[in-house]
């Protein structure tokens, strides 16, 4: 079981703990994500995978433990801050901005801090417009790649579920992240769309991002990820390639229950 060397790690999680009222969801979780990899995070229901993603991305605070992004401590910080540091995530529920157009959804996803100043809106319009055109061009390119360009002027709320998933990838790509966390991107998605998403994921990686995917669809994980981490009952119980993991008794037991490992 190879764990990435420190210098190659984009994301490091150390000894993460989180409990909600008596229930310990994450119980000493430790792993590293190698830069440039597509890493899968799998495990049975209740393993704490989504909670870990929420902790890393800053949606909730850890009780204990450390999260480091490219060496920088990000644990306990809010989502806004973490996102600006280059860690972007998607959600299980579609979270598009419904009343904005598809194009606006993508443009707004770009890191824009200083552009959003009020004084600029009034006094630096020419510069803003020039930058805006560049952003728009980039956004359209991303949409074209995902075959969403014809819908650019549609209200995002009117898109189908599958289209919203693709839109999410456009937004994520637009944010030029260092690392992307995908929270069950295939939930409720048909196989054709799944392949499109897979292409989008590898595309993200090819353009320099590290990707981490939480998924239940192990076939997809096997085809897409070069490294897989298994969690159960709040901690990591194994990692490696899928074939490594299939041979690990703890992993099999976690998925199939006691006795299956020894079958």
């Amino acid at each position: 079981m190879a764990t990435p060397a420190r210098s190659q790690a984009c994301l490091e999680v150390t000894d993460l703990y989180k409990s909600f009222g008596g229930v310990t969801a994450v119980n000493g979780c430790t792993f590293s994500v190698r830069r440039g990899s597509i890493t899968g995070l799998v495990g049975p229901n209740g393993a704490g995978k989504s909670t870990v993603i929420n902790l890393i991305s800053g949606l909730i605070r850890p009780d204990r433990g450390a999260v480091r992004l490219e060496g920088e401590e990000i644990g306990g910080r809010g989502m806004e801050w973490v996102s600006r540091r280059g860690l972007v995530r998607t959600f299980q529920v579609a979270r598009e901005w419904p009343a904005l157009t598809v194009l606006e959804n993508v443009i707004a996803a770009a890191p824009a801090g200083h552009r959003e100043a009020i004084w600029r809106a009034l006094f630096a319009r020419r510069a803003l417009n020039a930058q805006g055109r560049a952003l728009e061009a980039r956004a359209l390119t991303l949409l074209e790649r995902l075959k969403l360009a014809p819908l650019a002027q549609e209200r995002a709320g009117r898109l189908s579920g599958g289209q919203k998933r693709l839109l999410e990838f456009a937004r994520v790509a637009m944010a030029s992240p260092k690392i992307v966390l995908l929270d069950e991107p295939l939930a409720g998605v048909n196989p054709v769309l799944a392949e499109e998403l897979r292409a989008a994921i590898t595309d993200l990686r090819d353009r320099g991002a590290t990707v981490m995917i939480v998924e239940h669809n192990l076939g997809f994980v096997e085809r897409t990820c070069d490294h897989v981490i298994v969690m159960a009952t709040g901690r990591v119980i194994g990692e490696g390639t899928m074939s490594d993991l299939r041979r690990s008794p703890q992993v099999v037991e976690a998925y199939l229950g006691r006795g299956a490992a020894h079958a």
């Binding site: 949606l59 009343a99 904005l100 824009a112 809106a121």
Partner: protein
Amino acid sequence: MFEYLVSVGTLAAITSVIALGLNSRWGLSGQLDLGYYIYVALGAYIDGVLTLPSAHTQPDVSYILGLHLPFLAGFAGAGLGAGLVSLVVGAVALKNLRGDYFAIVTVAATIIGYTVISQYKPLFNGYNGLYGASQPFAASLNLSPQGYQAFYFGLCVVVLVAVFVVLELLRRSPFGLAVKAVRENEIAASAFGKRTYLLRLKAYVIGGVVAGLGGSLFMHYITAFNPASWSPLETFLLYGALLVGGTANNLGAVVGALIALIAFPQLTQLIPALGSNSNAGPAIQNIVIGLLIFAVLLFRAAGILPELTTMSGQLRTRGAWNWRRRATGQAADSAEPAGPVVDPAGPEEA
């Protein structure tokens, strides 16, 4: 006839300015501010105590300041003052409250303001309020009364146009886009690095500044302002205007204000039997607004925020903007139930 038109026109222009301020909070930022009118009142009062002479010159009248400054100082001061109060209130209220709980706090804050202003005489002269406000530029212009009315109308229109232009620029800018993103889905906005609290606060303060400016114009139009001229419930009439005009849309806000201001009074005059009841007018107006809200919500199942999506692109004639593609889809509602970040009722979703 001319005087009547000028008079209605002036009031329409001022109401439009006030409606635009509310649009910054509700339309652009999605904040259900039910206590907005307090900022208009503050604007009027602040302008008053800046431009009126000291209270000591009059017996039985008491208010703070009384600096006898010229109109422009009062105008600017009104906007700044209302903006500052907005900053303080907004900084606290927007930290953790959303949706209905935010709305409730705004009502509470406004009624507190109303009560304090009415009861605490040294502030703004209590129930008697301020009166005798100057007529801006009257001395230097030396016009006839009708001429001055026309001038003041022109002044209000100029302010309206300026406010409109500024707000439109903001709406179409990256700032506006970011504020809208926060409105549409705050968590997603956070996930893409938007500084949600600051964006909300800025939109809130902008609304306050515009409200203050509107209040100032109002003050110098009526030349008097006291608790009887406003009530915490004025805000509902403004929402009615926004509804009629189409929210999120500055042009709609102005149109709505015009329709509401002109149509409603005409409407009530058509019902003769109620002439005896002096309360009839406003009462019917409010009932109509209530029914309007209900109808809009019922038929636009989508929700009360039908932003004309590429309105921002419309005037730049970008691409194939299609008037008929007005959205009736599921706007803010179906994406996720809105609720306060800190939710006394407990989380809605598992």
